[in-house]
Symmetry: C2
Subunit: 541 residues, 2 copies
């Protein structure tokens, strides 16, 4: 969930620009029920009078996904290249937000002036069209913010990485003061491979299949979609795209003219009529997402299409760490249907969109920055990247979330810590990650939930017995008597003997009843549940 | 969670033996709050008069972990080799179960007669001492049940894989009718490596470190523990084991004489006094388990020991698919402390305990079975293994959970489907996976929980207003008014106008109040929560 801020000016009065507003995805372990996770922009919101612009480097969700959710809090001009801006506009429109502040930018030499900043978009190769690095000139020097990139001389769709251009950028003025650089693949020791290397193995693989072929990849990897579709065509197959995100990406790429010559494809409703050995589906869901086309097809018929014994399912993708369970679930579901599952085990059918270690070193050498701050990766990736920089005599530091770094000297230096947590999109509202809402959900999921209701009459006497309901707990435990009945019995005994000063005090009642419920449950099933106590007090008329 | 059953006799009256009673581990996605997952043995329990014995191949949790939980339902003699039996006995004793039915078995040539079965334990190499295959002779032919194994000629601890012995087994009588064979590493194309190959790289690595060294591996991999400890000793370090499971394994291995010459080690309370460059910890938690020593050390001081900048943490292990998130969390926590994290990326510091594809093929060739049923692996692994067998002319079939296979013919054939689900250990009780308990927990975690209490008086008139509590839901949504208040208002309006026939009917009240709560919540935050309605009815005296 990328969101970077650069500032220039007197401390506390710096003018600010924001780079990217991305999301990350929730999981059951830490964020059950949450829809999206993004940066908490409270500090930016408080200081929004100081923000001059927002720049979006490319249209991956982890860089643009929070735009419709966070832009309404900031309401500043947004700059992006054509394809990225179009994806952004669709997101804003869907959220009912106007797009008048969204500006399409041409790549360098166009310069956007935003307060003290002069910003140029410089094309880089990545796994989505029009990914850009930003060259940010300030009175204190030049910053190169790489965005996500790889060194690909023939990326199929979009601009190749252009070392001559970067050489030029490095040579202008006083050179590059700071390189803020993608670190994702710092642990990959071999030079990265070009998107173009995939055409041959994919074409060969698909030609060899006898049943239906279904391939999945990242929806936004338009180059890969083209390679896959061309491989299918070459094997005499009709191509059908399944999945909203994927169709949108192809449409926007064609509309913005970054994609041309994409093979003709048929709608899903016609696919069922094509003989399976002449059909190839390209579908969403490379990460095992439960609602995506790949998962739907693994469970059974989807849009009239069903995979069968003898068909082939190809993952032209890698598993993003943490998504293994979902992907394995789908692979096994296909295996049970007799479908041949092919993944990228051998490295033949997927290439990464990020620069590997030798590529990163080549960029360091090309740009010769005075300082380097690693970005995009886990802490261990950034730490490794920082070590490489340091070993080459480039001053470096790992910036963690919320760290404000002073780069006016000869080495990066921590200036301040800004509170920078996470915001959750939960249904249709934004909540703070530390609001306790999700914590309560996790507790209910781990421990179950016991509800106790008691009615106390006008004279502070319990009216009837306490009532207990269990949710997410076994009905009976060791003793064989229903747990709810046992808690009710214990509560009845307690209420009968409890002095007025407890009965009349809500907090004491809550505490006492909760303790009894937890104790009984502990004895019966060895768990201490969450407990909600509702004491209803009747009032004298 | 392995549990296999072999039967011989007239259909429906077969005498039965059970091989292994294992567990698998829960996750938040599908089994939040659950402690352990094991096979549902309802069918075995119903037919326990037909069971003659239980055999345990080795002491890994996925083969022995359910013994204390499921044995009380079956109460049949259990056979295992010395080390395995000792681990089993400790488990039974902890659960307060007598061990008189637990029998220590010597390896072949000892034969255990159990009804129509004659069973021999045959030593195989794996990643825990005394792992055994079972040679099961029946009047219908010989079955070889491999258990978990690899082909290791020098496993450091325990017996090497002995091809001569297996050649002999294959040659006896009419040879092997059925091979039931480990499939875990069927997708690994290279021959497996010996445990002995690790000593050199581990010794070199540890000798090169300057700060404290902490290494983790699977607690039961006693051979690895020995190699690590010896490498530490060679580097002049004091060795300290942290983690109950690991200490237990070493103790049991020494008691049963399968482990000798394990380097002397110091207790945790002395470790803090050793200079860090002379200290090496060997700790539990290679899979990122939150309560294990590795996770505790990543969070801060643990037993007086703290990891610091310049220390090294070594994963002499692989990540079991699905555990990536936990492991990555720990790696990054160490990275933030400046600790160098070394994992098995290069294949230098870990070897698998399972046979790779060429090793499996070697075993097929050695045993020349008439049929092969793959086991131990996901469906896709078993399917691949089955394809290999078929391609070599060995009749094969993938058996999924609950499938009863007839092997009396020339090829395996599905005879029957037995209902075979999962049982959860939840706190201290066993519950059925489909009881709805865990489903309710998942729903509360995803959707939150709304509680509604209403009091109805003797004349079927609501007494006061309905009371609403939220758990795991934001307090306010779109409108800015607390959601609970809004639901209460809507409920008040409804109750005021509701006809007697609804007010007096519990089911209709439940349905109506639930619908209102879900509708308000949906409008406010776009989520439909779980709702519990408690209607308390006052009775006329």
């Amino acid at each position: 969930m990328n969101a970077y801020v650069y500032g220039y000016g007197k401390p506390g009065k710096e003018r600010l620009i924001v780079i990217d507003l991305g999301v990350t995805f929730p999981d059951m372990d830490s964020s059950p029920g949450v829809d999206l996770i993004m940066a908490d922009v409270a500090w930016l919101e408080e200081n929004k009078h100081r923000i001059d612009a927002i720049f979006i480097t490319h249209a991956h969700e982890d860089h643009i996904g929070a735009l419709p959710h966070l832009w309404p809090r900031l309401r500043k001009p947004v700059y992006a290249r054509r394809f990225t801006a179009r994806i952004g506009a669709l997101k804003l429109e869907e959220a009912g937000i106007g797009t008048e502040e969204l500006h399409v930018v041409e790549p360098r030499p166009q310069v956007i002036e935003a307060g003290p900043f002069k910003v140029q978009f410089v094309p880089v190769s990545h796994s989505i069209p029009e990914s850009s690095a930003l060259v940010i000139d300030t009175p204190a020097g030049r910053i190169v913010h790489t965005g996500d990139f790889k060194l690909d001389g023939s990326p199929i769709v979009g601009e190749p990485f252009d070392p001559v251009l970067w050489h030029e950028i490095a040579g202008e003025g006083e050179g590059v003061k700071l390189l803020v650089c993608d670190s994702t693949n710092v642990f990959s020791p071999q030079p990265g491979r070009s998107e173009a290397t995939l055409a041959e193995p994919l074409t060969k693989l698909i030609a060899e299949q006898e049943g239906m072929v279904v391939a999945t990849t990242f929806a936004s990897n338009v180059a890969r979609l083209k390679t896959l579709a061309e491989a299918g065509k070459a094997a005499g197959r009709s191509i059908c795209l399944l999945g909203r995100a994927m169709k949108r990406m192809v449409t926007v790429a064609e509309e913005t003219a970054v994609l041309t010559g994409f093979p003709g494809h048929i709608p899903a409703e016609d696919a069922a009529d094509v003989p399976r050995n002449h059909l190839m589906l390209i579908v969403t869901g490379s990460q095992g997402e439960r609602r995506a086309a790949s998962a739907q097809l693994s469970r059974g018929k989807y849009l009239g299409i069903e995979m069968k014994d003898g068909d082939t399912f190809l993952f032209s993708s890698k598993v993003i760490p943490g998504n293994e369970r979902g992907v394995i679930r789908i692979m096994n579901a296909y295996s049970e249907k007799g479908v041949e599952v092919i993944d990228d085990r051998g490295g033949l059918y997927h290439v990464s969109g990020h620069a590997n270690r030798p590529d990163l070193e080549a960029v360091h050498d090309l740009l010769k920055p005075q300082m380097l701050i690693p970005m995009h990766g886990e802490h261990r990736h950034m730490r490794e990247h920082s070590k490489i920089a340091t070993s080459k005599g480039i001053a470096s530091l790992v910036a963690t979330n919320g760290m404000m770094i002073d780069i006016t000297g000869t080495a990066p230096k921590v200036a301040e810590y800004i509170e920078a947590g996470r915001t959750y999109l939960d249904g249709s509202v934004l909540i703070g990650a530390l609001d306790g809402v999700v914590r309560d959900r996790i507790r209910m999921a781990l421990n179950g939930h016991v509800l106790i209701t008691v009615i106390i009459d006008e004279d502070d006497v319990p009216l009837g017995d306490a009532w207990v309901e269990l949710m997410g707990l076994p009905e009976v435990g060791r003793s064989g008597t229903p747990i709810a009945d046992q808690i009710e019995d214990e509560l009845a005994e307690f209420l009968e003997r409890a002095p007025d000063k407890i009965i009349s005090n809500d907090d004491k009642m809550d505490e006492a009843l909760r303790r009894i419920a937890r104790q009984v449950t502990m004895e019966e099933i060895g768990k201490k549940p969450e407990v909600t106590v509702v004491v209803s007090r009747l009032m004298a008329d």
